[in-house]
């Protein structure tokens, strides 16, 4: 019946188990999903992240010269779906959880990046250049032909492909 006294005495002897945070350091478990980092150079503009985003936090804006990526942390559920579906690892969830902020900074809690568009070598239409990461995912090794395909828009690539078939004379 008096086992609670034993527990209390043990607690008293062991001392507080309180984390020293906010006055000291605290721990961060491995794999914690925190602030999102966007790497524009790896983005291929597939917009899968925008599609799967549960909180509707990701938005893409396309203009003449660039593709703008915006993620608002105040709408992000940190579910990690965007990271899961991003094959080129342009979106990564870091372990930084220090996200509390004042109201003035509410709309500044964003992660932004711009992917500049480049003209197609064939027709000159502006297109999203194929990122190095995608090349690495798609091909084991690259050669000059494949590298030339990179600079072409999908239409020109298709045309080139059809030509290639003719040349082979199947």
């Amino acid at each position: 019946m008096f086992s609670f006294l034993k527990i209390l005495v043990r607690n008293l002897i062991q001392g507080p188990s309180t984390d020293p945070f906010p006055f000291g350091e605290t721990f961060t478990p491995e794999g914690l999903r925190g602030r999102v980092r966007f790497d524009a150079s790896a983005c291929v503009g597939c917009r899968m992240c925008e599609h799967v985003c549960a909180g509707g936090a990701i938005r893409f804006e396309q203009s003449e010269s660039e593709l703008r990526f915006t993620l608002w942390h105040n709408s992000c559920t940190f579910c990690g779906l965007c990271q899961h579906y991003c094959k080129t690892k342009a979106i990564v969830l870091t372990e930084d959880w220090h996200l509390s902020h004042r109201q003035e900074e509410k709309y500044a809690m964003v992660e932004q990046g711009t992917v500049p568009l480049a003209p197609c070598l064939g027709c000159g239409i502006s297109m999203i250049p194929v990122a190095d990461e995608l090349m690495r995912v798609a091909y084991r090794e690259t050669n000059q032909d494949i590298d030339r395909l990179r600079r072409l828009c999908p239409d020109c690539r298709r045309k080139l492909g059809i030509k290639g078939v003719q040349r082979c004379k199947m």
């Binding site: 507080p16 188990s17 309180t18 984390d19 945070f21 906010p22 605290t26 914690l32 549960a54 909180g55 509707g56 608002w72 942390h73 105040n74 709408s75 992000c76 559920t77 940190f78 579910c79 959880w97 220090h98 996200l99 509390s100 902020h101 004042r102 109201q103 509410k106 809690m109």
Partner: protein
Amino acid sequence: MKTFLKKVAAQSPWLYRINAGSCNGCDVELATTACISRYDVERLGCKYCGSPKHADIVLITGPMTTRVKEKVLRLYAEIPDPKVTVAVGICPISCGVFRDSYAIEGPIDKYFPVDINVPGCPPRPQAIIEGIAEAISVWRTRL
């Protein structure tokens, strides 16, 4: 003397929770910060109080559903000044995953001033404590 008393008084922020139609995820995290000895908010001088009239720092969770809106506004008006408002979780800040629903009237900063936002779905207890610590520094200036 007066400023000294105010400085002393700033060490005693009492917390009050308002659930504005939350899914209870954030409320569980708030209960964790209150009840688990690892996070112990009492060492900051905080105390969870049951009555809105005793509150200094208001922690709001939930995206403000239509049904609960009138009650939340009434509760908020009951809290005596000076007070600091903390929005816990992404729902009160931006309505989060419930945005654009016919049953949601939020975000809450449409209705009353918010001072601190703690995003997360739900935020981890340390993040909530960080938000509370920041709210205390705001509260110090209000007294």
